[in-house]
Each structure stands twice: as C-alpha cells, then as structure tokens.
Symmetry: C2
Subunit: 347 residues, 2 copies
C-alpha cells in the first residue's frame, strides 16, 4: 500500500514541523518587520512587484501562454497554477501558524483539565506560553498535536479554527494571522485569475485549516485547496450525518506527495508552480516536466528587515536543494527584499 | 490508519465489481434498447425530461436556491452538485465499462505473452471473449484486474484508456462507450451549470479512467472528477518526472467513502447529489444532512425496453436500501421509463 510510505514518513515530517519549536524560545522577541505601506490605491497588474527579472519572467510567461497566435498558447481550461502556502503565500516564522494554533488548543485543553495540566508537555506550555514549545521534548509534542486535530467533526473543527484565526495574534508582528499573507502574492493570484488561470493551494499544512482563510485571504475556494489531512469517517448520528476527524494522519502533502496529490485531485499538470522550500521541489519539477510551457517560481526569504532571512540552514522552510536546482534550471527566484514593494501590505 | 478500512473493504468491493461477470455469460445477447430519437433540435432547459414530479422537483429546487430574495437562496460559490457515474450518468450493464476495459487489457497482455495465455483466467478470456469473464473463478480475476491498472505512468494509462474508448464497442448496444451516456442527465448537468452550479462526478470507478471521457461527454473537467484510485508515486526519470501507477488499490470511492472524499476534496457540502445505487446512499445522506436546502436524486433503472430494469436484486447497481430511504424521505426517484423522452439520445 502506498499509504505505508506516508505512515513511515509522517512521524519524521511532524518532527520536522516541530523542529522550529527548539528554535523559538525567543519567538516573542523576534524582530518585527517594519512594513512600508504606500498609502496609494493599489495599482493594476503587478503593481506591488518592482521592475526586474522576477516580474518580467512572470509577465512574459503569462503573455506567451495567453496569446492565441503564439506557439506556447495554452487553452484557459489548462491554465492551472499551484502554490504552496506556508512561506509562499503567508509567513511561517517563528513556526508554522497551524502549529501555533495546535499549541493554543493544547493549552486550552490543559486549562480545562487539571489532570492534563499536571503532565508534560502541557505543564510547560501553560507556564511558559508559546515559548514553552521550545523547552519541551519535541517527541512529546507529536501525539498531543495530532490529538487536537482529531476527536471532533469537520464542521466543529472548521469553527474552532475560524474562531482562532479571528482572535489570535502573531507573537511578534502584532497582526492577526490572516493579515500575514504576502500582498504581492495575493496580487499575483488575482493577476493570474484575470488571465483565466485557476489558482490552487498545494500545501503541507492541513487542508481544513487552510480552507478557513483561503477564500477571504486569497480568493481561493475550498475545492481548490489541497493539503495534508487526518483520516476521517462518515457517520449518521441521531442529529444527522457528520464527518468525524480521527487523531491519525492519513496524508502528508509534502515533497513527492505534492505531485502525487496534484495528479490525484487536479488530474492535469500545472503550468505554473510556486513554492519557497525543498518541500516544494518535486511540485516544481512536476510542473516543469519538459512537455510544455511551464513557469517555476521560488520565493526567497532574504528580507531580514521587513520579514525574515533564511534558506539553506533553516529548520522551517529549508531551501537548499531547491536553491541549487532553481539556479541550474533558470527558474524564477523571487527576492522578497528586492522584488516586492511591500510584504504584508497595509493594515 | 483510516486506510485499513479501505484495505479491508477493497477486496470485497472488487469482488462486487466482478460479481456481474457471473451473470454476464450471455452479455452478447442482452436485449438491445430501442432508443427513440425525436429528430428535432434539443429544447431549452430540461427538454428531454417529461412533465412530471421528477422534472418539477428539480426545477423547483433550482428556482428556490437561485432566487436571491428567497429564504433558500444559496450563493453561486456554494452551488455544488455531485453525481455518481456508472448507472447514473452512463450505463453500467452488463458490467461496469471499466471492468470490460480491464478484461480487454488482460486479453491483449495474454495475446502478447504465450506463457500468460496458457494460464487461467487468461486462457478462458482468450477463448471465449468477454463472456468468458463469467466462466472463470471471480477470485482469479481480482489480481489481474488490479494489475492492468498499474505498472505504467499516469500519462500512458490515460492514453491507453483514451484509445480503448475511441475504438471499443458495447457488446450488445452497438455503440461506443462514450455514446452510452444518458442524454437527459447530460442535459441536467448543462442546466445546472447554466444556473451557476459546479458539477462534479463522485464515482466508484477509477478517477483516471473517468477523466478520459468526462470533459467531452459531460463538460466536466478533470479536477471535478473524484473516483477510486490506485496508489501512485512520483519519480524523476532520465526522460523527466512521471507519476507511476502501482498495482495496489489506495482508495475505493464507494459507500461512506463518497462523503469522506467529498469532504477531503471539495470541502463543502453538496446541495444536489445524484446516484442510482446503494453505493450512493451515504453521499445522498450527506447532501441532505438537514443543515440547509438539498436535493437528493436517485435514477431508477426501470426501463427494460430502452435500457435495463434492475434494482433490489441486481449484482450491478444494487438499489435496495436506497430505494427504501428515498421513499421514506421523499427524495426524487427518476423513472428512466416515465421521466425521460430518450435514454442515450440520437447517434
């Protein structure tokens, strides 16, 4: 069974998800980006992208595939564009926002249950808050993290996640999490849709978690979000049919899982793929498979002033093999520092 | 792991898939429907549906959810309609067309390999053709059937399936398989899309097999097809990246698997669900979950003259629990005999 591959990988991937925790003891003190708002109305097209190679390559590609008389013309029905979420469409430091959400749920559970509150890792999380995630044994976080994603229905989970998004604030940036999307990327999504692309999210994050923000934040409906997921089961209860979420990981949408999920769910090779880390490499390889026009885009976190600067050695968003392959193949590497006039846009 | 449930069910379901084979020894002699073509241009709206309760209920539901001033109004983005394929959008007798395709592939493999040709079930299939499927031990068919769905890339499999669709003929109806779609259902799909519904297929059949016909036959793009699937793996080969299909079933999109897959992939409750068998019951229950407007439609095969008549006791498309629940809950049960002016439309 293919799933065995995911089963054996899931532990490793979740530990990777959590690796950040070790590095985030000082999460609350991470430097805060000084975002620059232009104060003017948004410009048409890619107005938040500075003149340069990145904007040129995007505009040239879109022009070529939408020109009916050109040799690279692609019919609208085949204009599929896929984007990673964490680190590509919104920020991912000091740790994946979904991990912060899960840790908040763990703290809530412990506050309501004295017996749980006396146990690790709950005791440390209660005493030290989010920073406590760096102080506990990462292995001890895995099972509780998965647990708070299950044991409820899909409808209740969505409501819980929506409530969290509506109330939680980023530990250092003093913004709600749905205000931490990258304004130039949101603009790019709109630009692509204006050219009859269908825009998709293909994320290592949980599919139901992302769906809570995808429509408002990105203009992407739930059926165009692919992500990792827990196992679910259908049940007809006394109050009606429900989808139960189980505390078991069923699919990790990362690395080679991304092209596999794209083939399963979209059934068509994307002609644009965007990511920011090695976990997106196979998705970009799949898009740029040599059988037709393709644009592979990597967002490079090189802006320590306005966001964060990290790549080859980062526990979150490690960008090493991808950086090399992008250089070797002439893929578009977006410099957040040089190519974007703003990171998060105005408040 | 959730997959264990599918693993344990997959054998049973595939045997069910094949159960027909026992009943199809006489497949070549099954009565041929005498389809009536009107000879006139297609009428607007549901012109292939006769006046009656079925057409009324569909039109009334669509009118109510698209009326912005009504209490049942549903925004366009939430107008999701899901339909089973085999027996709902196209025929499924004397056996699922994908099983006929797989048996043809088995015969081709045996023709090219004398060693295989000497073994069962290949020997019988070579000697007796499709009817031979009823003469062999159903258990002996399972592994070879799965095998011909794997061992190749997604791209090659699609080409193989497309070539088969382009050349194969139904054993008794003397039509290509993609001419065996139900014209009134194709019209219904168009009618729904004209009212800003997004139309989806949610089928127990293989997702890649259905995608070969879905766009031309139904106007449904590949990313709106959900189905069963074999496991796949991404590989970067010397000639480029590919999706390899493995000879292992990963997901059976039947029964409770349908609402589970709808939640995973669409992430939104459908407000219209259509099927024809007990395998669609949970999908219809999920759509009609009591939380908002819903239309549940069952197509009843009651037309022995123009198609086939079968329900409670059929090995293919068994419609027993669903027939009872439809009556109890007032769901729309479409009589193919009484409600449709034509079955397959004109050639």
């Amino acid at each position: 069974m293919k799933m065995c591959w995911f089963q054996s990988r899931s532990l490793a991937v979740l530990i990777l998800l959590l690796a950040c925790a070790t590095a985030c003891t000082g999460a609350g003190t991470t430097e805060s980006p000084a975002d620059e708002g232009s104060g003017e109305a948004p410009q048409p097209e890619l107005g938040l992208w500075r003149d340069g190679q990145s904007r040129d390559s995007i505009e040239a590609f879109v022009a070529s595939v939408t020109d009916p008389s050109g040799s690279d013309f692609v019919p609208a029905a085949e204009r599929i564009a896929v984007f990673d979420n964490d680190g590509t469409l919104w920020a991912e430091q000091p740790m994946y926002f979904q991990v912060i959400f899960a840790i908040d749920l763990m703290r809530e559970a412990a506050e309501a249950d004295p017996e749980l509150a006396a146990q690790e890792p709950y005791r440390t999380l209660l005493a030290e808050g989010l920073a406590g995630a760096g102080a506990v044994d990462p292995d001890s976080l895995l099972a509780p993290l998965v647990k708070v994603h299950g044991g409820t229905t899909a409808a209740v989970f969505r409501e819980t996640a929506a409530n969290w998004i509506a109330s939680a604030r980023h530990p250092s940036l003093d913004r709600a999490y749905n205000q931490l999307t990258y304004a130039p990327m949101v603009e790019l999504l709109e630009y692509l849709r204006a050219h009859d692309f269908e825009t998709w999210i293909v994320s290592g994050g949980g599919v139901e978690f992302i769906r809570v923000i995808s429509e408002d934040a990105y203009g992407i409906p739930p059926q165009q979000v692919i992500g990792s997921r827990v196992a679910t089961a259908f049940e007809v209860t006394e109050s009606g049919p429900v989808i139960n979420r189980l505390a078991e990981i069923e699919f990790i949408d990362d690395g080679p899982g991304k092209p596999v999920a794209i083939n399963n769910i979209i059934g068509r090779r994307p002609i644009i793929a965007g990511g920011n880390s090695d976990g997106d490499l196979q998705m970009l390889q799949y898009a740029d498979d040599g059988t037709g026009p393709a644009l592979a885009i990597y967002v490079h976190h090189d802006d320590a002033e306005r966001e964060w600067a990290y790549d080859r050695d980062s526990a979150i968003g490690k960008f090493d093999l991808g950086l090399d392959e992008a250089a070797a193949r002439g893929w578009t590497v977006v410099s957040m520092r040089d190519d974007w006039t703003t990171i998060f846009g105005e408040r």
